[in-house]
């Protein structure tokens, strides 16, 4: 039995009530509600408000914020905090996310449960610091070298920034994986009503501490869900954490093909094989639809207007909004692809980062039409409408 204990939020971190918050502030409140007690960060537009709020809130809640000397340091300080026993996150955008790549791979390799928040902006390089994009989706998935799988969550509103960052922390703890919380500048700086529920209504996963005694416990011995249970430094267990290929004891076996094969396959399989428990999406009018728009984050919200315009003209259009973008809900996408004329995928990148993956999943069952946008703005709903009408032909 996998060692997962659900509990409710620590009331100290929960500001119950109705608030008027932007996405960045809401994400910070969500993290505090989820039990995050350590954040390491470095200022970068458009994400800075998350850690600014964290810095001023955390002394009241009991925890630590450290402003590090750069994103490289931030992305590894949080892993130190996790191995010392806290829930932790870091927050960044564009260039900072690029600098963090090595440590995302390290977190994947050492199975460190943590959350990386990326408030996406336009790139490459410095790009458009104050404007949105969704062009880091592939980087989030595979930006670090080597084979691994992560989970990526994408919110569409400040309320979802609050709600889903809690999911992100929970998923990180359950699967011991770095979870990418992929916001964008629009969602980050959009101010809306955010309802923070009572702490007892917020479900939080505790760390999967081992039941085994020192001596019996192996740090990287997987449970039946392919995820190993954890201990923390100082509990009396022998811990050996390394980015080198390691066996179940955690000891390096960097020249052992069998160990490497087993480890890397498990790192991928723990996400593949548990994907059905990770997927999260929302559907609107997909039953009997001729066209289904599949999108995520801010683009899914903008798409609503394009869909509405098409529906006004009698076109049956549905929406599938991905909340967990990676891993993709492949069976459901295939099921829809079998029934519709085409799938339209608006997203704020020109290389169709998610659309290509959807196309791979659909495998020719129906056309997949990407509606690309270079970012630094959101789609004109007319473009999405036109793509829908084009797809009908």
């Amino acid at each position: 039995m996998a060692n997962i204990k659900w509990t409710t939020a620590d009331p100290k971190g929960v500001l119950t009530g109705a608030h008027y918050l932007d996405g960045n502030h809401a994400a910070c409140e969500g993290a505090l509600a989820a039990g995050c007690r350590f954040a390491a960060g470095y200022p970068i537009t458009p994400s800075t408000e998350v850690v600014e709020r964290f810095a001023s809130r955390i002394p009241e809640v009991g925890g630590v914020f450290i402003q590090m000397e750069d994103e490289i340091a931030s992305s590894i300080a949080l892993q130190g905090a996790v191995w010392a026993g806290l829930k932790a996150m870091t927050v960044t955008s564009g260039p900072g996310f690029s600098l963090m790549m090595e440590h995302i791979g390290l977190a994947a390799m050492t199975e460190t449960p943590c959350v990386f928040v990326n408030v996406q902006r336009g790139g490459p390089s410095t790009g458009t610091p104050t404007l949105p994009a969704q062009a880091d989706m592939m980087q989030a998935r595979w930006g670090s070298h080597g084979d691994y799988e992560i989970i990526a969550v994408s919110p569409s509103s400040p309320q979802e920034c609050f709600d889903f960052i809690i999911d992100a922390f929970n998923l990180a703890e359950i699967y011991r994986v770095p979870v990418m919380f992929m916001m964008d500048e629009c969602v980050g700086h959009m101010t809306e009503k955010v309802i923070i529920p009572e702490p007892e209504k917020i479900k939080v996963v505790e760390r999967r501490w081992t039941d085994k005694k020192p001596g019996e416990y192996l740090p990287f011995e997987p449970d039946d869900d392919l995820v190993p249970n954890m201990v923390k430094a100082g509990d009396g267990y022998r811990i050996h954490v390394t980015g080198l290929t390691h066996d179940e004891r955690g000891y390096p076996a960097a020249t052992d093909v069998t160990v490497h094969n087993k480890l890397v396959r498990r790192l991928c399989d723990k996400i593949y094989k548990n994907a059905h428990k990770i997927w999260k999406w929302e559907e609107m009018d997909t039953d009997g639809a001729e066209i289904v728009v599949m999108s995520y984050g801010i683009s899914a919200r903008v798409a609503l207007r394009g869909i509405e315009m098409a529906r006004e003209r009698g076109v049956k259009v549905g929406l599938l909004r991905l909340i967990v973008v990676w891993p993709l809900p492949e069976p459901r996408i295939r099921e829809i692809a079998d029934k519709v004329k085409a799938i339209v995928v608006p997203e704020l990148n020109v290389r169709a980062q998610v659309a290509r993956e959807i196309e791979r999943v659909v495998a020719g069952r129906c056309p997949v039409i990407p509606v690309g946008h270079a970012g630094a703005g959101v789609h004109d709903p007319n473009d999405i409408y036109n793509a829908i009408m084009e797809a009908l032909k």
Partner: protein
């Protein structure tokens, strides 16, 4: 033992700069806030450097305000690089120019100034590694840090060069914190520890001193580092008309002493003739220190004084014939 020669008359003249070059290479119309001392500092720096200059500029306020598309304030070749790598890019530029000169593609006698420019975040924090590499390799580059003591471009987040006790958005003062909790990182001394030929601190409140130091750094063969203390009225919470005065107070209270380290020999550029002023005079000009209680100010005062005393001792120690005989000559004059 030789006396340190300090020309106070010349320094007094530093408060005016009518003898400075009239040409402007950092042009007006940029988007800096009112009273921006970093922008003023760059104006002086480029006056001193002249037209044969390449500026390598890290991400930061001065990059953003000087280059909003489709305009530029730079009258010299300018390259904006990422946040962490200005010293590395400047190293590359310098090495390439060296090669071009060696191959005769550039006139070997033509003096080309290379200036790396970054803020305190891009220098003390994210850029320190690249800076250290550049100084260790002793590239013929002048690296200038404009220190406004926080990440002003992203909205006043603390850096490791933020002054102790200052409230910023990531070191907010309040019930649990006095603001920035640790001592300001001293990058000038870190640079000096690389034994580069020239390190200096400067402040645009003393324009001639700043310009002279820039000129000197460019004339010296090898890597040079200048730390420019540049008040930011927006981030520090002082009236925009006060930037110059705040800079001057920082020097007069010993919060930010002006000095040079030339081939290992320390020389304080300005010793206030009537002694250091109490730091309260400096602190009370800015909102970011408003929350500080008297006992905290006293502790900071003690550290400021200790730092100043240390500087005096360094000056005394390094300005002896013995030091020059035993360290400077063998170290800087022996070519391996």
């Amino acid at each position: 033992m030789s006396e340190v020669v300090r020309d106070l008359k010349a320094f007094a003249k530093a408060l005016v700069y009518k003898n400075a070059p009239k040409e402007e290479y950092f042009k007006r119309g940029h988007r800096a806030c009112q009273g921006c001392a970093p922008a003023l500092a760059i104006r002086y720096i480029l006056k001193a450097a002249g037209p044969n200059t390449i500026v390598v500029n890290a991400t930061g306020c001065m990059e953003i305000i000087s280059s909003p598309f489709p305009y530029t304030s730079w009258g010299v070749p300018w390259i904006h690089v990422a946040f962490e790598n200005v010293a590395a890019v400047a190293s590359g530029v310098e090495a390439a120019i060296k090669v071009l000169k060696r191959k005769g593609r550039l006139d070997p006698n033509k003096r080309i100034n290379i200036i790396g420019l970054a803020g305190d975040g891009g220098t003390a924090d994210i850029g320190l590694q690249a800076l250290s590499g550049m100084l260790a390799r002793n590239h013929n580059v002048t690296y200038i840090c404009y220190d406004n003591e926080a990440y002003m471009n992203t909205g006043v987040q603390g850096s490791s060069a933020t002054f102790t006790g200052a409230s910023t958005t990531t070191t907010p003062a309040g019930r649990y914190s006095i603001g920035q909790g640790y001592w300001k990182k001293n990058v000038a001394e870190i640079a000096a520890s690389h034994y580069v030929p020239y390190v200096a601190t400067a402040c645009p409140s003393y324009p001639l001193d700043l310009m002279n130091k820039v000129r000197k750094s460019l004339e010296i063969e090898g890597a040079a580092y200048i730390h420019v203390f540049a008040p930011c009225p927006t981030g520090w919470g002082c009236p925009s008309s006060m930037a110059i005065e705040v800079g001057r107070l920082a020097v007069e209270t010993g919060v930010y002493p002006l000095y040079e380290v030339e081939r290992g020999v320390w020389k304080i550029s300005y010793i206030p003739p009537k002694g250091l002023k109490p730091i309260e005079e400096y602190f009370k000009t800015q909102r970011r220190f408003k929350h500080l209680k008297k006992e905290v100010v006293e502790k900071i005062q003690e550290k400021v004084r200790a730092h100043w005393e240390r500087l005096l001792m360094l000056e005394k120690m390094t300005n002896t014939e013995e030091f020059k005989e035993k360290f400077v000559r063998p170290f800087y004059e022996v070519q391996i």
